[in-house]
Symmetry: C2
Subunit: 287 residues, 2 copies
């Protein structure tokens, strides 16, 4: 099996390490020559290239090609590699939004047969290949969002490959994916930024407990990536923010009017939901 | 040194373990006989009692008495132990709000000399003595909020004791404490409940990443405790929620109107603030 990875940041380099651990042939492209050199010398990639043009023979002969770049860059990369692709290959990206990119692929006679939108729920606040690890995907959800003409055989192959590195493949549609992610990833990210901005002031230094630090940990994430994601998923994100807002107002009013029973009901529901997802996750990791 | 601990839950039992590690004499009161029995048999407390009446001789002879119960219970305990207290003792509580309780102590000729409001930033979402540990306070802030007539000598003794179990004592005023905590602890807690409530629905199961889980971890915390804290610190909490709300609206509008530069500015400020507190904390832990 030959695997190509375009973009060797945190996700791309972690995929390379994970596949290499399974003794697969892995090549990569990155504009950062240091990344290529470091990963090559550690035998994490077999071959490294600076441009798509340089890697065209590899592109032609690979079974899987992963595109691990910022969401807004995926289309451009797909356009550039298309001349070297054939129907029997599989191309997977790793961006946090799927609707726009899968709709784009659906309109192209070749891409609609080869492109599977991918999204590992395995981000970290520390980006770059230096923070990569072969274990990044272990036990994590990896969404697979196939284009319309992708065959079931290919979906199954992609699932198998993803699961061989310890991830839990979840096959779904572009719209379901983007709505879900607005609520479980993009909204929490935005809230973490707002909370960090609201609570941290110069005169309130040195006194942050573990609760606060965990709640705002993802506010350390790179801003350009998140601007990109928000641009791509604007409509669903605004919807999730309106839902958050109406719950926020319910809580504010309950506190202001001292409706303690109402407040207790809201908090208890929230707590039970949160305890439940731990259970579900523990179950899933046992299987 | 003789230390009494009233309420042997997560905080009380952790204090007992930490003091016991330093070979101090520790006795405790809890209404749960199992807690008393377990902690006694493991030599974490030297003596255990079910009621204040039973422990009155210990109360008279202790150097420090810690009150580790729900915020709304502290006053009642102070009233009950007062007949057995003398001027040279030190009484410290562990509740998350300090203004009401220290103002209460300031009005009493004896309590204003012996009571130091205490608050370790060392909560966990799992409560109870079974989750306690001697290391709970290591590297954590422990606020000390003295009543008006407490002498500097006593403040210094309290500081020394707190630091002997690895905590970082921070001496401050009741109002400063409660405003700060509204922003860095109570607001994040409320937001975590609201976020869990908004994002987790039955049809969006099984797909939560580490970012979401960390952001909402504290939503697993016990609800009765938080209702109690919110009742005690209502005014400051509502103020912090209004600040959060106005930042939330700024972000919502920037996304809706696609003012990406404005959004970038807000997120970058938030990110820099969040990175900064990590630095400050690392510095503090080095010293």
């Amino acid at each position: 099996m030959r695997i190509g990875i375009i973009g060797l940041g945190l996700i791309g380099a972690s995929l390379a390490k994970a596949f290499k651990n399974n003794s697969l042939y892995v090549w990569g492209i990155d504009k950062d020559d240091n990344a290529i050199e470091d990963l090559r010398s550690e035998n994490i990639i077999d071959k490294g290239y600076s441009t798509i043009e340089e890697a065209k023979d590899e592109l032609k002969e690979s079974d899987f090609i992963f595109i691990c770049v910022y969401p807004s860059m995926v289309k451009k990369i797909l356009e550039s590699i298309k001349p070297y692709l054939k129907e029997d290959q599989i191309v997977i990206d790793s961006a946090s939004t799927k609707q726009k990119i899968v709709f784009f692929a659906n309109k192209d006679p070749l891409l609609t047969k080869v492109f599977i939108g991918g999204h590992p729920l395995a981000g970290k606040e520390n980006s770059g290949y230096k923070n990569s690890s072969a274990d990044l995907f272990r036990g994590k959800i990896f969404f697979l969002v196939p284009s319309q003409e992708v065959t079931f055989l290919k979906i199954d192959k992609a699932k198998e490959l993803i699961e061989s590195i310890g991830a839990r493949a979840m096959i779904t549609t572009p719209i379901y994916h983007d709505i879900t992610l607005a609520y479980i990833s993009h909204l929490p990210q935005i809230i973490a930024y707002i909370l960090a901005d609201t609570s941290i002031n110069r005169d309130r230094g040195k006194t942050f407990g573990t609760g606060f630090k965990d709640t705002t940990r993802i506010a350390k994430s790179p801003v350009p990536l998140w601007l990109d994601i928000i641009k791509e998923n604007k409509t669903h994100i605004l919807k999730s923010m309106r839902d958050f807002y109406s719950n926020f107002i319910r809580v504010y009013n309950a506190i202001e009017k001292e409706e303690w029973e109402e407040l207790e009901k809201i908090f208890k529901t929230a707590r039970e939901k949160r305890l439940k997802i731990e259970e579900i996750n523990n179950e899933a990791n046992k299987n």
